[in-house]
Each structure stands twice: as C-alpha cells, then as structure tokens.
C-alpha cells in the first residue's frame, strides 16, 4: 500500500514538473470533441442526444494516448526495469500506476465534461452528482485495463498500434455501459441508469482484480 502511494506520488510529481502529458491530453480532448461534433453536424434540437457518445469516444481516445505516454516515459533509461529491481510487489506497482492514471484522466474529465455540456447545449449542473459517479466508474474501468495493456504494449514490437488494437475491443462493454448510463442520467437521473452502472461497476471490479493479479506476468523478465 505504501509502495503504491510512493509510485503514485512519483508519477504525479513527474507529471507536475513537465505538465507535458496533461496539457497535450487537454488539447487533444477538446480537439476530439470538436471533430466528433462537427462530423455529425447536429441541429440545436438533436445536439444533446449526441452528448453521451461524443463524450465517451473523446474520453477513450484521449485516455489511450495519456496511458501510452506514461509507459513510454518509463521505458526511457529503463526506468521500469529499475522499478522492478526495487523490493516492491508488482501488484503495488500496478496499483500505483492505476491510481496515477485515474488522477490524470479525472483532471482531463473536469475539462472535457463541462465543454461537452457547453458545445451540445446541456444543463449539467442539476445532473452533476449522478454524472460524477458515471465518470468515475468509467474512468476506473478504463484505467484498470489500460494500465495492464499499456505496460504490455510498450514491451512488444509495433507498440504504437498495439495498444489501441488490443484495448479498444475489450473496452466495448465499458463504452456501452458508460454511454447508456450517461444517457439515462441526462434525461432522468440515477433511477434509469442502473443497467449501465451495473455493467460499469462489474467491469471495474473484474479488471482491477485481474490487472492486479496478471501485472506480474507482464512486467517480469
């Protein structure tokens, strides 16, 4: 637990000192929102119905880049190898990396979610608590799988294309759950969102545990 916190602090410190990852992720997130909205040319009436899909597509594509960048940093100067020679359980490394990714993605969400509301004419304020829950569950589920496969994809050849190739099909249930839950939350609050939230919660638990158990097989040499 303490080791995981140390790794989280290290990753956040690196991020804070360069601010390179977070700023590129911000700009990319906004860009994707613009591109995905413009491509569908919505009328003012249909715009709100596009919001869930646009929001989560932008989140997933931006998140892929953020996570991949985190692991490419570890490759420089063989940092991950150094981390592995430390007397730290691989499960703790996974937990620390996962927490760092969740924080990074949450910061990105605080910009992308309000902008989605602004671009697509949604009044998010009354829906905010329910929406925060959906965003958090989606974030943790995405980061659980992305942390495992980020570590994996940076260790094989053709790594740039390998992460999206492996991750996107596995993320489809998360995407469906998040989009359906967001849609339900935007029209009527948490009551109608139980199906989507259930999928998200199950996804989070299954892949956080699987990632924690399987991470050792990915990083061990």
């Amino acid at each position: 637990m303490r080791d995981a916190l140390a790794i989280l602090a290290k990753d956040l410190r690196i991020e804070w000192r360069t601010r390179e990852g977070i700023s590129s992720v911000f700009v990319l997130g906004v860009l994707l929102l613009v591109v995905l909205t413009v491509a569908q040319d919505p009328s003012p009436e249909t715009a709100p119905t596009l919001a869930p899909g646009v929001l989560w597509a932008a989140f997933v594509l931006t998140g892929l880049l953020a996570v991949q960048r985190g692991f490419l940093l570890e490759r420089e100067n063989d940092c991950l190898a150094g981390l592995l020679t430390a007397p730290v359980d691989p499960g703790a490394i996974y937990a620390g990396k996962l927490a760092a990714n969740v924080v990074l993605l949450a910061v990105m969400q605080t910009v992308v979610v309000p902008l989605t509301g602004l671009f697509l004419h949604l009044d998010l304020i009354p829906r905010l608590p329910a929406l925060l829950l959906v965003c958090l569950l989606g974030n943790v589920g995405f980061a659980s799988l992305a942390t495992l496969f980020g570590a994996l994809a940076t260790r094989v050849r053709a790594r740039e294309v390998m992460l999206p190739l492996l991750l996107l099909p596995l993320l489809v249930p998360l995407l469906i759950g998040a989009v359906e839950a967001t849609r339900a939350v935007l029209v009527g609050g948490l009551a109608g969102a139980s199906g989507g939230l259930g999928v998200l919660a199950a996804f989070d638990v299954i892949f956080a545990v699987a990632g924690w158990l399987l991470f050792a097989y990915v990083v061990r040499d």
Partner: protein, 229 residues
C-alpha cells in the same frame, strides 16, 4: 485417434450435409435460406469453444510454462477466429432476405463482432509482437482478459435494441425447431464442425512444434559453424 480424425470428420460432414439438405423439412416462414442456420449456429458454438480453450490453455501456460499449452492457445485462437468469421459471413447471407439488411446493431451481432475483434487482435499480437520469448506470456494475459470480457459483453449488449431470433433459448423468432430432424441436423452439423476444428487445432499445434524444433536445430547449426570457424 489422430489418424482417424480426418476420415471421421469427412464422414460426419457428409452426414450433416445429407441431413440438412435432403432430410430436414423447409422452414415454414423463412423458406430455403433458413438451412444456413445449421452451419451458422454450429460455427458459433465452435468459435465459443475455441475462445474458452484459449483462456484455459493460457491459464495453464501462465501456471506451468508448458510450451504445448502456449501452442494450443495460439491454435485455438486461430480456429476460433476462423469459425467466428464463418458466423459473421453466414449471418448476413440469412439476414439480407429475412431482415432486409445485411447488418444491424442487434445485441448478438454486436457481441459476435466484438469477440471477433478481441481474438483478431490476439492474432495480431502473436504475429507482429516480435520474436520475444515473453510474447507467449503477453498473449496468455490477453487470452485470459478476453474471456473475462465475454460475460460483460453479454450483459452490456442487452442494453442495446435487439431483433435476433432466439429459437433455442427463448423459443422466439421463426416457427422454432418443430421437426425433430431439425434438431438432429443442428447436432450433427455441430459435431462435424467440432471434429473439423479439432483436426485444425491438432495440425496447427504440431506445425508450431515443428517450427520450434527447426528453430532450435538452426541455432545449434549456427553454433557448430561458429566452432568450426
């Protein structure tokens, strides 16, 4: 047993063709095109068997590092993707006359295409991941995560709109398998495809072992050449 597999596969396959095209009566609502059902559903079963075999063999490989388990996982993924492709080809051939469209985002169709993509990406990782010895371990992790994803996909796609017939599980769509020969036809064609898949998997596992043996011999040869020089 291994010698018997090809002729046995051929015999059962001929029997399946004879039953499906000569014995089974034509379905009342859909007509002749319904006969593709016997190969479509049987292929889907074989694809699922293949994907679960990938996960089982992957778990064994992570547990004890057996090279046979590694080769078995790879072969099962190849055969699973092959039969999943057959499902995705035979489905639209039926859907076009019955639904009027080749494709729709019905839960079962979405699930099948997502599963296909997961295991196609598994084959990509195997093919283009480089010759690293750790690649088998990475693939095994993906094989296990892939099968964990299946129940989540099944539950999540239920949130989508659906029109796919479910004649076996919910007796919905079409007139059902009213004639007993329809059930026989489905079971015999499933058996034929399972035998075919087993034969393919066996061939691929043996092929992969020969590849490894050739690579080992080549390394030894290079080492001896080095000694002579």
């Amino acid at each position: 047993m291994r010698r018997l597999l090809p002729p046995l596969t051929g015999l059962v396959m001929l029997a399946a063709l004879a039953i499906v095209f000569l014995v089974v009566p034509t379905e009342a609502d859909m007509g002749i095109v319904q006969r593709i059902f016997y190969f479509h559903v049987a292929s889907a079963w074989v694809a699922f068997l293949g994907f679960f075999l990938v996960a089982g063999a992957s778990a064994v490989y992570l547990w004890n590092g057996s090279p046979t388990a590694d080769r078995l996982a790879y072969a099962a993924a190849e055969v699973g993707v092959l039969f999943c492709t057959l499902v995705l080809v035979t489905g639209p051939i039926w859907a076009r006359p019955i639904w009027g469209v080749w494709w729709t985002w019905d839960p079962r169709l979405t699930m099948t295409v997502v599963l296909w993509a997961i295991y196609a990406s598994y084959l990509m990782l195997r093919a283009f991941g480089g010759g690293d010895a750790a690649l088998g371990r990475y693939a095994a992790v993906l094989g296990i995560v892939g099968v964990l994803d299946i129940p989540l996909i099944v539950v999540s796609v239920r949130l989508l709109r659906g029109i796919h017939p479910a004649v076996l599980t919910r007796q919905e769509g079409g007139t059902g398998l009213v004639d007993p020969w329809m059930r026989v036809g489905l079971l015999v064609s499933a058996l034929a495809l399972i035998l075919l898949a087993a034969w393919f998997v066996d061939l691929r596992v043996r092929g992969a072992r020969l590849d490894d043996e050739v690579a080992a011999l080549r390394r030894e040869l290079d080492a001896r050449r080095g000694e002579v020089a």
